[in-house]
């Protein structure tokens, strides 16, 4: 066996080299960033920013959490089958209701009568939170959850509703929640992306990469996809094979040429930033590979998340990676499922069971693990989809989309555990009391991270653009 057929690049060795002397100055300045405190940034300064980076920034107000894990449940999970029991629905099962909500049904042709939930509900935890039998693991974490049962949105079609939940607007092209947060707060760990997306190896969600795009914000605030297998980031490792000693010599040459170039233009800040970006690239090769190395976890932890077991392995891996990422200071981690498994137009019972079988244990494991490691207080875990489902049947055993009521929960980030907030009407068709709009939800998440939704703005086309757009929003302080 010859040498160059071994591992493509001996990265540790390579890092030693580049770290040692070649990029000395740049490395020094970057390493110091690891320990620097957040720079003081007044809200008004954000508007006048001209250079966009991921340096940590001070929040507007005291932050309750530093990181977010967003467990996005594509397809629209059914609120009355999971979190919002409706005895009236049980009593009125089979009664016609369509006429009262005709305009709110996406596919009127298949609309049926009121339909009860196939699942039983029971009280859990000290708080006695009502949860469906289909989530046995999460039920054990009831006292961690701040359940919002009164959320609603404004569009009942997947694509626009997804855009809305991710960016506040039903149109594509706007920055996503994760982008806004990293724009506002930067990130602590400069060796990893600030906003990581863990999409499902089985396939992309509806709207694909547009769900985590930066829109009009600079591209540095776009979500970075980490694959849970193989190379986590595009081009993180060379796409060709070369002896590491050769790679080292070449990079040495690059840095020497760049330093010559910089000497001629010593007063231009962009050039040193570029040299720094090459240094960061080298360190990201290490940091990202390390963050994704689940072999470092004990077998007990792996078992807790359901690794190497079907059907929990895939989602369990992503939940565990999410924990490892927030542990390393990544600001915003977002988990997706392939396409939209929660879209229960037919076979509701079976579909929900499949989704829960994939996600219930890993999510509970994530909450327990975060708590165990003392990370739950500083990490906000958010669960939810793009809309809810109707109390009437679609076809024989499905439910159609419903924009008037949806459910979500938050945990960690010093939200009140064991709280069920807001109500829907007696059949679960529409949010009734303490309604929470999508802008409210966004404002609340920003608030928990110490960001004021009114101040977090980006100046464009003569407007101070915001995540919440022109809408009035309300921080749902009752759950805090």
């Amino acid at each position: 066996m010859t040498q160059h057929s071994k591992t493509p690049i001996d990265r540790r060795n390579f890092f030693d080299h580049v770290g040692g002397g070649i990029y000395g100055a740049a490395l020094g300045s970057l390493l110091s960033q690891d320990v620097y405190g957040a720079e003081e940034t007044k809200p008004s300064e954000i508007r006048s920013r001209t250079e966009y980076d991921l340096k940590p920034r001070a929040p507007h107000i005291k932050a309750r959490a530093n990181s977010v894990i967003h467990l996005f449940m594509n397809g629209g999970p059914s609120q009355m089958d999971l979190f919002d029991p409706k005895p009236e629905l049980e009593r009125n099962h089979g009664k016609s209701y369509f006429e009262k909500i005709a305009g709110e049904v996406e596919s009127p042709g298949a609309a049926g009568a009121l339909m009860r939930s196939p699942f039983r509900f029971a009280r859990h935890g000290q708080s006695g939170m009502w949860l469906s039998e289909v989530m046995p693991h999460l039920s054990g974490c009831a006292d961690d959850l701040a359940l919002i049962r009164s959320m609603y949105t404004t569009n009942l079609t997947h694509e626009p509703a997804l855009f809305q939940i991710h960016s506040g607007n039903t149109l594509p092209g706007l920055p996503s929640l994760g982008g806004w947060i990293t724009y506002g707060l930067g990130t602590v760990n400069q060796n990893l992306p600030a906003y990581v997306v863990l999409d499902d190896p089985k396939g992309l969600p509806v709207n694909r990469k547009q769900s985590w795009q930066s829109g009009y914000l600079p591209p540095v605030y776009q979500g970075t996809r980490f694959r849970s297998q193989g190379s986590p980031v595009l081009d993180l490792k060379p796409g060709f094979e070369e002896p590491s000693s050769v790679t080292h010599l070449e990079r040495d040459l690059i840095s020497r040429l760049d330093r010559l170039h910089q000497r001629q233009h010593s007063l231009l800040p962009g050039l040193s930033a570029r040299i720094a970006s090459y240094e960061l690239a080298a360190r990201m090769q290490l940091a990202a590979s390390d963050a994704l190395d689940l072999n470092q976890e004990s077998s007990a932890t792996q078992a807790l998340y359901g690794l190497d077991q079907e059907p929990t392995d895939s989602y369990g891996r992503r939940c565990l990676i999410a924990r490892r990422l927030v542990e390393r200071g990544v600001r915003f981690v977002q988990l997706f499922l392939d396409f939209q498994p929660w879209d229960s137009h037919s076979g509701l019972e079976k579909g929900i069971k499949i989704c829960c079988a994939r996600t219930d244990q890993p999510i509970a494991a994530l909450l327990m693990d975060l708590r165990h490691r003392g990370l739950l207080d500083s990490t906000l875990v958010v669960w939810g989809g793009e809309f809810g489902r109707l109390p009437i049947a679609q076809g024989a055993n499905g439910r159609d989309h419903n924009k008037n009521a949806m459910v979500s929960w938050m945990a960690g980030g010093s939200v009140k555990g064991g709280l069920s907030y807001g109500t829907t009407d007696e059949i679960g068709f529409a949010a009734a009391d303490d309604k929470v709009s999508v802008p409210d939800w966004h404002a609340t998440i920003l608030h928990i991270l110490g960001l004021d939704y009114k101040s977090l703005s980006y100046h464009r086309n003569g407007l101070d653009e915001k995540l919440t757009g022109v809408f009035e929003a309300r921080v749902v302080s009752e759950i805090l």
Binding site: H158, K209, N461, G462
Partner: protein, 1138 residues
């Protein structure tokens, strides 16, 4: 019900006041004038309470005499002084004629707060003499006092007996019918011969008679159908993107019919010869709303080459500075060449320029670059950013391709290359369809074609309305809004979009101006008469030449097919003769005669191949006026459910004198002429914005920052020009030079200002840190597409074929998006498919914008993924190898010459002594290192035999002599390669890999595994069973992955986990001097019809590459040079332009 609606509406308005997110001090005077002073949340609650009180208090019904009563004391004042605008015209949505209408307030909210004159905008504006407008006589003190006393005493009206039909006219009803009914009973379709667009057509009715009987709702067919739930028909709603009628809408319709279907003549709100009450003379005085004034060029004694320098230097001198020294000539030619063409200068061009000692060498260079066809490709990209050009629809998951969008891209490039005057360029793009009567033309000339293609400008927004479920009226309004945004942000430099929901907060752009603009475009962009994007936005008017060429191609293909079929018929007859007199039919004959069956199969395949060469009938994706737009209503709060007053076409008033009607004349029948009138107004030589906005943009792309740095905002919140006199001089010069963009380039680039060095000194940082004075040239990073094009150019692999359908891209599973090239050459980035969901990774990394809808100015980021891409990406690495090969080809084996050549190609200048020293040293070290690491001499063995497995179907698990397997979810293909290695003797191999040659151009991921022969049945089934974990057990034998259409070379088959024993296995599998290798190709999910394209080309024959014996010094030198070239494209000197 309408009695109740009054307070309801009022609270809606109040709510709006509460929710306004902007601090009040930022509101325009106009907005403030319409709100109570210091209005905040608390106050608005009071407002609400007051209004509720007014409506609830029974005392208002019996008005005690002697008090001030609206009808007797106030209305007469309003009638003489205010009704002109705030009567039937309802300026700012305010009608002062009745109690009801006053309580409804203005477009900005309530105007009357009972008992609180200082908080009532109605009183505020007359008291402060802001109303009537300044041009008119103010109210007398007595009149103002009457109003004050009226409000203070409780704002009494004589009667609250409000007729339920007050304000109920056709304009309340028709928008409802537009929303719910006219898609089937309107302009395009008249189901049952019924048209519900006007009162009279409703009365006329359809097949079943009149649709309504005024005064008798119960007898009105329309209501009977609605009540019976027959209309709108529920099962058809989703298809036509209509929602069922709301209960409140049915009630309104019923009330209107009950009241006798009253019709009131309300003229659309348009500009008239009366002074505009909403935009004052003061508003019009803002610098950018005034036509540019040409100031005289400063007379300076020295250091100026042209007027630009005079303006710039004057300001520099004022600040105790002067120009920086002139840049080196090599710097200048690289700067100018990349600036104008987006490509680096060639060594020959550099040499010529350096050798040209004539005084006008620089001017000649600029002229040569401006004449280059590459110029339009570079500057066209800037325009495509503005237009939001995209080859796909976006909006929906499917992200449908726009197959003909490229015509617009080509139009832009051609127009710029032809130096089409900018006014004409705009006219064509905004109203090309109204410039030529294409419908009546006998021949479609290139002029007609160009004009129609140009209208693609306002067809670029992301548009998901091809799916019924995202094509409702509000969805369509978003698209229209996007198109208006494209227009106003790019061409007008105004933030008109703000006025969609409310009057602009900072600029004097009332809400109705937005809707007047929407009315201009309504002939083509009509939310109630919508053209589905994928199918219906096309016209067939390509030039006769193109159509003939297409037809002739079609005919040729048909003829080829016909001749094949004829030949087959002949064979059939011949074979059939053998079976006379049975006359077997075709199927029987196939069974009887295997030869005939084979011939049929062959012919079918040949015909299929010919059919695949057919291209769809050519057509144009255009925007055109359809002559009969639906009426435009101002939408309160931008909400389609709350239409306000009808509005006619017009332009932003602040850009006019406010007393000139917008005259529209249809140029020919079937079109409204609105856009044409708008475009002519926009391109008038004294337009305040058009020329300024464009010269500012040209300036920005030469000097890094605009004279007005906010390119899209020349309004009050935009930045002021750093050099106002220069901007105006340029704007007027632009018009004077017949709107020639190239003349502007020439002017700017031949200045001393442009030729300055980019060196930044301490003095610069002290006196001009942001370079606002232009004391030097900025150093700039290449844009993403320039980087890619320059890379291709230096590697010598750039295919300069212009125009035509976009080149495909390939999105790999891991998210990497790359172009698919031909024969290892690639076209310029502007010709690569720009799909919203699959943007090239290199562009994504280097700030190429997400065009939703457009991009006025790109951001410039410096992030690690850029470095990762340039360092690690396989394609970039491949480019460096091409680059190295070229350098060696052109410079020979001398190292100094190689470096000289590489430097000249990439950086446009020879290496400095330091650079040469460092690089030569590195080159030596690299060569030595490669000598140590190379595994002996490389020997290539072409495959002696190869079989490629074709389409494998589930029911034919094994096909002919080929191995093929069908797994449940995945189709697998197998190939068998055989190599004759008998010449290599017994010396062991040090390494081996497989080169497959060109893979098919299908955009499907393909991979292959190399498996030594002797695999038993157990292994096969083992593979089948473990699809999910398919790395096992084969990974040890290596895996090849490639992008389709890309030649695989130098791909090491051994994966990271391969061990020496794998190679031994390969060595051991030599049997009788031959080695056989099984390839497994898989692709995810979708079956397709072709495998590797082995098309007989030399480099497409699979090869086994073996390494044996001692290392090859020549190869080591070549590898080292490749590393140097890779370092060069990674260096700052390449990426940055001095």
């Amino acid at each position: 019900m309408f009695v109740h609606e009054v307070p309801l509406n009022s609270t809606t308005y109040i709510f709006r006041a509460i929710v306004h997110p902007q601090p009040m001090e930022h509101w325009s005077p106009l907005m403030r004038s319409l709100l109570p002073v210091g209005c905040g949340r608390r106050l608005c609650v009071i407002v609400m309470a007051s209004i509720a009180m007014i409506c609830a208090d029974p005392l208002f019904a019996q008005q005690p005499s002697g008090k001030i009563v609206f009808e007797e004391h106030v209305r007469p004042i309003f009638a003489t002084r205010c009704f002109g605008c705030h009567g039937s015209k309802r300026r700012a949505e305010l009608d002062l004629r009745s109690r009801d209408s006053i309580l409804k307030g203005s477009e900005s909210g309530p105007v009357l707060i009972s008992e609180k004159p200082r908080e009532s905008p109605l009183y505020e504006v007359v008291h402060d003499r802001r109303m009537p407008p300044k041009e008119e006589k103010p109210l007398s003190d007595a009149e103002v006092d009457t109003i004050r006393r009226w409000i203070i005493s409780g704002a009494k009206f004589r009667s609250v007996a409000v007729s339920s039909s007050d304000g109920l006219n056709q304009h309340v009803i028709l928008p409802i019918l537009q929303l719910r009914c006219t898609v089937c009973h309107g302009r395009q379709i008249q189901q049952a011969e019924l048209d519900l667009r006007t009162r009279s057509s409703i009365l006329t009715g359809g097949k079943s008679g009149p649709a309504m009987v005024p005064g008798k709702p119960d007898e009105s067919l329309i209501l009977r159908k609605i009540h019976a739930e027959e209309m709108p028909p529920r099962d058809k709603l989703a298809m036509v993107s209509v929602k069922p009628m709301e209960l409140s809408e049915i009630k309104s319709l019923s009330a209107w019919i009950a009241a006798g279907a009253p019709e009131e003549e309300v003229l659309p709100d348009v500009a008239s010869t009366h002074p505009d009450p909403l935009v004052s003379i003061e508003d019009r005085k803002f610098w950018s709303f005034q036509s540019p004034q040409r100031k005289s060029v400063p007379q300076l004694p020295e250091h100026t080459r042209n007027p630009i320098d005079a303006f710039v230097l004057r300001k520099l001198l004022k600040n105790r500075m002067s120009f920086s020294p002139e840049s080196a000539r090599t710097t200048l030619i690289r700067r100018a060449t990349i600036n104008l063409t987006g490509l680096p200068p060639s060594p020959g061009e550099i040499e010529n320029f350096l050798a040209d000692n004539s005084p006008n060498a620089w001017e000649r260079l600029i002229d040569r670059l401006l004449a280059s066809p590459r110029y339009g490709e570079r500057w066209g990209r800037y325009w495509l950013d503005l237009a939001g050009y995209s080859d796909s629809e976006g909006g929906q998951h499917a992200d449908r391709i726009r197959p003909e969008a490229y015509r617009y891209r080509d139009y832009v490039i051609r127009s710029l290359n032809d130096d089409k005057p900018y006014d004409k360029f705009l006219l064509e793009q905004i109203a090309g369809d109204e410039l030529v009567d294409y419908g009546s033309a006998e021949t479609i000339t290139s002029e007609i074609y160009e004009n129609l293609v140009a209208t693609g400008f306002l067809r670029m927004a992301p548009d998901g309305t091809y799916a019924g479920i995202t094509a409702f009226v509000p969805d369509r309004l978003e698209i229209i809004d996007d198109e208006l945004e494209v227009l106003t942000s790019s061409v007008m430099g105004l933030t008109v979009r703000c006025a969609r929901c409310h009057s602009h907060k900072f600029d004097p752009i009332p809400q109705r101006d937005y809707y007047r603009l929407a009315a201009v475009f309504k002939g083509a962009l009509d939310e109630h008469d919508w053209l589905e994007p994928v199918k219906h936005r096309y016209v067939p008017y390509v030039t006769d030449d193109e159509r003939r060429a297409w037809q002739s191609d079609e005919d040729k293909l048909s003829a080829e097919i016909e001749s094949l079929q004829a030949a087959l018929r002949k064979i059939q007859t011949e074979f059939a003769m053998r079976h006379v007199p049975d006359a077997p039919d075709e199927e029987t004959l196939k069974k009887l005669e295997p030869e005939f069956a084979a011939a049929t199969k062959q012919t079918d395949a040949a015909i299929k191949a010919i059919e695949a060469r057919r291209v769809p009938e050519p057509r144009i994706r255009a925007l055109w006026d359809r002559g009969e737009p639906s009426p435009t209503y101002l939408l309160k709060r931008g909400n389609y459910l709350t239409p306000g007053r009808p509005v006619g076409p017009g332009v932003p008033s602040v850009l006019t004198n406010g007393m000139t009607p917008f005259d529209v004349e249809a140029p020919f029948e079937g079109t409204t002429g609105r856009r044409l009138a708008f475009a002519r107004w926009l391109t008038a030589s004294d337009h305040p914005l058009t020329a300024r906005v464009m010269v500012n943009r040209i300036w920005k792309h030469h000097f890094g920052t605009g004279i007005v740095s906010t390119l899209d905002n020349f309004g009050t919140t935009g930045t002021r020009p750093t050099h106002p006199d220069l901007l105006d001089w340029l704007a007027t010069e632009f018009v004077r030079q017949n709107w020639s963009i190239k003349a502007m380039h020439r002017l700017l680039m031949t200045s001393l200002t442009y030729r300055q060095s980019s060196d930044t000194t301490a003095k610069h940082l002290k006196l001009d840190p942001d370079n606002k004075l232009l004391s030097r040239m900025p150093m700039r990073r290449m844009e993403g597409e320039v980087l890619r094009d320059c890379l291709l150019s230096v590697t010598g692999r750039l295919d300069l074929t212009p125009y035509g359908p976009a080149d495909k891209v390939h999105a790999r599973d891991d998210g990497l998006v790359v172009t698919v090239g031909k024969e290892n050459t690639w076209r310029r980035t502007i010709y690569v498919l720009q799909r919203r969901t699959t943007q090239l990774t290199i562009l994504d990394n280097f700030d190429f914008p997400q065009l939703n809808p457009n991009c006025i100015e790109r951001s410039d980021s410096i992030v690690a993924p850029q470095a990762l891409h340039l360092l690690n990406n396989k394609r970039i690495h491949k480019f460096s190898r091409f680059f190295a090969a070229r350098v060696r080809r052109e410079a020979g084996n001398d190292r100094a010459a190689q470096l000289e050549r590489a430097w000249l190609l990439a950086f446009g200048h020879p290496p400095t002594i330091d650079e040469q020293r460092i690089t030569l040293k590195a080159l030596n070290e690299l060569t030595n290192e490669w000598m140590r690491k190379l595994d002996g001499v490389k020997l290539t063995v072409p495959a002696a035999a190869h079989l490629w497995i074709r389409h494998a179907k589930p029911d034919t698990a094994y096909e002919d002599d080929l191995v093929s397997v069908w797994s449940q979810e995945r189709e697998l293909r197998f190939g068998l390669l055989e190599f004759d290695v008998s010449d290599f003797g017994d010396e062991p191999w040090k390494a081996a890999h497989l080169e497959l040659g060109m893979l098919s151009t299908h955009a499907i991921k393909q991979s292959a595994m190399m498996i030594p022969p002797g695999i038993d049945q157990l292994t096969w089934s083992g593979y089948q069973k473990t699809k999910a974990g398919r790395q096992q057990p084969f990974e040890a034998f290596g895996r090849i992955e490639s992008e389709p259409g890309i030649e695989i070379t130098g791909t090491y088959t051994k994966s990271a986990s391969a061990t020496a024993s794998d190679l031994k296995l390969l060595n051991d599998t030599k049997q009788g001097g031959r080695i056989a290798i099984v390839l497994i190709a898989d692709e995810d999910g979708k079956p397709y019809g072709r495998d590797w394209d082995d098309g007989g080309k030399e480099n497409n024959v699979p090869r086994l590459v073996i390494r044996q014996g001692a290392s090859d010094p020549d190869e080591a030198r070549q590898r080292a040079l490749e590393n140097v070239c890779h370092a060069i494209v990674n260096s700052a000197d390449f990426l940055y332009i001095d």
